[in-house]
């Protein structure tokens, strides 16, 4: 089973999950190729987190079949660095100890522009720096699947843009399959090749971004409008596109 889907980072068919009476998702199909950058959009409570935990092996599905390529790694909303270990040790969290491992850590830190902080304690880093360390820690494993769980949500706007560029650059270099979970439609369209929407316990939308990346041109405007509509949000700049009966929820939710 493990090696049947060589090209796929994720291959899930008919996955279901309930918590008691609550259906988190049902009959969910998801395929993500290696090297592909996919964004998963969904409101809070739509089951994104549960799906993510399953992909990371922290939870299991109730029904269906799934295969996730390894190695897999993740960057979470919080950096989740070990405060008692220096930065370079944190980068090596998933790496078996060897003589060259510090050099590997330095190279990984170099990629995220933090080799000067290798010996720092995580407690002394800024939020953006800590998140870059987390990214280095995830990429050093050369993962087949990299899960990004709202990794930019806690960053300030400028740091977020820089971090997004960094992620895009490093994705192009390392080519892992990326599943980016986010609330932010603009972020999803800016980074991903394909955007999914998780709603009402299933994936209701699966759209390639293609030439719609530029938010100023018509395809970009249309794609965004469609995603906002699917998420049940009235996009501020597209009041006419709102489908009848859409529920208004805040565009950016506080986490």
């Amino acid at each position: 089973m493990k090696h049947r889907f060589h090209d796929n980072a994720i291959e899930i068919r008919g996955a279901s999950k309930n918590f008691g009476d609550r259906v988190i998702f049902t009959g969910l199909d998801l395929r993500l190729r290696r090297g592909e950058f996919v964004a998963l959009l969904g409101a809070s409570g739509s089951g994104k987190t549960t799906l993510l935990r399953m992909l990371l092996g922290l939870d299991c599905i109730d029904a269906g079949a799934g295969d996730v390529a390894t190695p897999r790694s993740a960057v979470f909303q919080e950096p989740r660095l070990v405060p008692s270990q220096r930065v370079w040790r944190n980068v090596l969290m998933g790496v078996p100890a060897s003589r060259q491992s510090k050099d590997r850590a330095m190279a990984a830190l170099d990629e995220v522009g933090l080799n000067g902080h290798a010996n720092a304690w995580p407690g002394t880093l800024s939020g953006g720096e800590a998140q870059r360390v987390a990214l280095a820690r995830a990429l050093i494993l050369e993962p087949a699947l990299l899960v990004l769980d709202e990794p930019f949500a806690a960053l300030d706007a400028l740091t977020r843009l820089r971090m997004q560029d960094l992620v895009r650059r490093l994705h192009a270099k390392h080519q892992p399959g990326v599943l980016l979970v986010t609330h932010d439609v603009d972020e999803a369209v800016r980074l991903a090749d394909r955007v999914l929407v998780l709603r009402d316990a299933r994936l209701t939308l699966d759209l390639p971004v293609g030439d719609a990346r530029d938010p100023a041109r018509p395809p970009g405007v249309q794609l965004r409008a469609r995603l906002y509509a699917e998420l049940g949000v009235t996009h501020p700049s597209q009041p006419d596109e709102q489908p009848a009966g859409a529920v208004r929820i805040p565009e950016h939710e506080s986490i």
């Binding site: 990371l56 092996g57 922290l58 190695p71 897999r72 790694s73 993740a74 979470f76 919080e78 950096p79 989740r80 660095l81 070990v82 405060p83 008692s84 270990q85 220096r86 969290m93 998933g94 304690w121 995580p122 407690g123 002394t124 880093l125 800024s126 939020g127 800590a130 820690r137 494993l141």
Partner: protein, 288 residues
Amino acid sequence: MTGLAASPAIQVQRSGRRQSLHVGEQSRLRRGRLVGAGSTRVMLPVLVLAAWQLASAYGLINPRTLESPLAVGQALIDLTRSGVLLDSLIASFNRAAAGLLLGGGLGLALGLVAGLSRAGERTYDALLQMLRMVPFLALIPLFVVWFGVGEEPKILLIALACVFPVYLNTFSGVRNVDPKLIEAAAVFGMTWPAIATRIVIPLAMPAILVGIRYAMGVALLSLVAAEQVNASSGIGYLALNPRAALRTDIILGVVLIYSVLGLAVDVLVRVIQHFALPWHRNLGGNAR
């Protein structure tokens, strides 16, 4: 001030000058306060000592009730000269160290196991919480019955007293490690033993050291109690020595030694904390 308010330019200038003056004044004040704080701290004890010495010298206090501070000092000097004090300190230190090692080690092991595994917690946490509430001094007669009047009951009493602070702090220290961190480590393929030794225990270390600090204090306390039961050495014995029964100078000297030891223990653990937990020092406002 109301007259000045009519002329904003002057006001700005004045407030600017005032501000720069204020900064200088404040830093000087702060320095002054530091010195002041130090001298205030020392002042009261010195005053009390002086009053005590004067009252003793003028015969206001009966030396049988309370010897003068100078006499206490003299008693300590005599005890040091004769070597009795050093012998007593060594005997007491050995007992305290043995008890602390035994009890603290047990508390550490139990706390780690209970913190890391629900099974361990279920097995003995309730029992330990019950035992914790027993005033350990109440066990002295029982310990004498069980272990006689040698070294064992003394060391075991100190050990027993040391188990709980170390156990409780270790347990809560382990349980307070951020579960998200452990989850991340699991995602990155770390095994359970590696997570326990490289993440959980180091992060629980500050709490464990707090427990050890408490235990050291408790060891000192139980030393006093233990050494007043059929001891023939140690500082507790020194205070209760029949020959010293009427020597309030020696008793007070021993009390002084206890307080100095208490202070020393505290400083020692703070120093250990400082050097053993370099990451904890600069875990400032942006701690995660």
